[in-house]
Amino acid sequence: MNNDRFDVNCMLGRWADGGPTYLDAVDLLAAMDRLGIARALVRHTLGAGYDPAEGNARLTVETAANARLVPCLAAAPDALRPESAAAAVAGARAVCLYPAAHTYPPEPWILGPHLGPLAERRVPVLIELSQCPWDSLERLCAAHPTLRVVLLAPGYRALRPLSALLDRHPHLYVELSNLVVFGGIEALAARFGVERLLFGTGQPRTDGAGIIAALSYSALDGAAVDAISAGNLDRLLAEVEV
């Protein structure tokens, strides 16, 4: 194992509910250093809970000065200003959708015009399970079979629907911070290979020490752990046409 870790799931910014916060890049980098995390694909709470444009602007400023931080832009459909919505994520290397927070059904009829270009550019689209019902996720993946979808934080109860979705959609990827059922990581790796599993912490809302220990004590070999820890996300981002 080379201990290179690339976190696909962390956030900057304050929360409405007063939850744990990384106010700025300095805060986030200190938390990453504590756990030995080299790099992070970062989102901003403003993009999720306030305004995607404002959040993306803030995120771009916060991450610009540090090569360890890669911005993941917030996106939302906007049929009234489709050009504006498309332009907002035109240069993105990764995008996150927040359908529940932004109050729209995550269905192909509303997201299709936005996801098509992202699929063409092979831009990973992140979405938290709490933001998107299983049935909608299935329809999105089916409607955009080449779209790289990264499902964030499926929980310990998720294996039945998750494994069925992974079986049907080869470009669906899974972030592991909340997959805390006993033996869940090894079971997914055995059935689907490690290429579709991604290291993430869910910080600051969840504690990255858990997934780090799960991988350090993993039954998987060193190469597999390296792929999960950083290699798979590196590959996904390298494939993006910017």
């Binding site: 059922v181 020490a209 780090i212 004590y217």
Partner: protein
């Protein structure tokens, strides 16, 4: 207590090495066994659990089968006892009773503790749909008092049957019974309530398993109630013990606090020397 930085708990966890190198007793105070109807567990069997204990360096695990805390407590207690017999000195059991079957509580307690050789009592008011103040549980508290054994109870934030604050009157009425609040109320709000109750009642203990606890909350919990009343617990196979171990390893606790939490506290409650 511990020699070099190479063999701190955190260093061992980072390298994925057994915690046996610490030379401490490591005991998981809250575990289960077998499939659960609510979701898929890939390897819920005792052999897989013991193999993971070996990998992590956990000496002993106290469990109550999933069947016991769901629809058939008596048959579930038999499953618990069978696993304990299959792995002597590694697996130990809690007897589960269900207040929804009041006429069977006292007899099942005696059967579990005297015939099956189980070590403590486990209640799951959430799954089995009764409140911890149910009069049918009077024999549970009496039994725990007479035998000096702990009672592990599932707790969760704002649960109408078993939120942490419900244990204040119980702990006061039964001051010699060690009450273990499973999951310590679970959520950040629940943990705050559990800590508040524990601060007022010295016979309340907090177990740390639960997918929502963080290292920071653990540090705060220890500072508030003292490491002597915090118990290492994993909820395996419902949850994966590696996650819980990681959070504990990265929490900023002293070596002595880690040692107490990892095993000495539950050993003391069970009279394990």
């Amino acid at each position: 207590m511990m020699a070099s930085d190479e063999y701190t708990m955190r260093a061992l966890v980072e390298r994925g090495e057994s915690l046996a190198a610490l030379g401490w007793r490591i005991i998981d105070a809250h575990a289960h066994l077998g499939p659960t109807g609510t979701f898929l567990i890939p390897t819920p069997d005792a052999a897989s659990m013991v193999a993971m204990m070996d990998r992590l360096g956990i000496d002993r695990t106290l469990l109550a089968s999933h069947l016991a805390i769901s629809c058939d407590f008596a048959r579930g207690n038999d499953l618990t006892a069978a696993a304990v017999r299959a792995y002597p000195d590694r697996l130990y059991g809690y007897v589960v009773v269900n207040a929804r079957y009041p006429e069977e509580v006292e007899g099942e307690l005696r059967r579990g503790l005297d015939q099956l050789g189980l070590q403590g009592i486990k209640l799951h008011p959430n799954f089995q749909g009764y409140c911890v103040d149910d009069p049918a549980l009077a024999s549970v508290w009496r039994c725990a008092e007479e035998r000096g054994i702990p009672v592990l109870v599932h707790t969760w934030d704002r649960d109408p049957n078993c939120r942490p604050s419900f244990f204040a009157p119980l702990a006061e009425a039964h001051p010699t019974v060690p009450f273990i609040l499973g999951h310590s109320g679970g959520t950040p709000t629940g943990v705050r309530e559990a800590v508040a109750v524990a601060r007022e009642h010295p016979n309340i203990y907090l177990d740390i398993c639960g997918s929502l606890l963080t290292s920071n909350e653990l540090e705060w919990m220890v500072a508030e109630v003292g490491a002597e009343r915090v118990l290492f617990a994993t909820d395996v196979p419902w949850l994966d013990p590696r996650f819980e171990l990681g959070r504990l390893a990265y929490a900023r606790l002293s070596v002595e606090e880690q040692r107490l939490i990892l095993g000495e506290n539950i050993a003391r409650l069970l009279g394990w020397g």
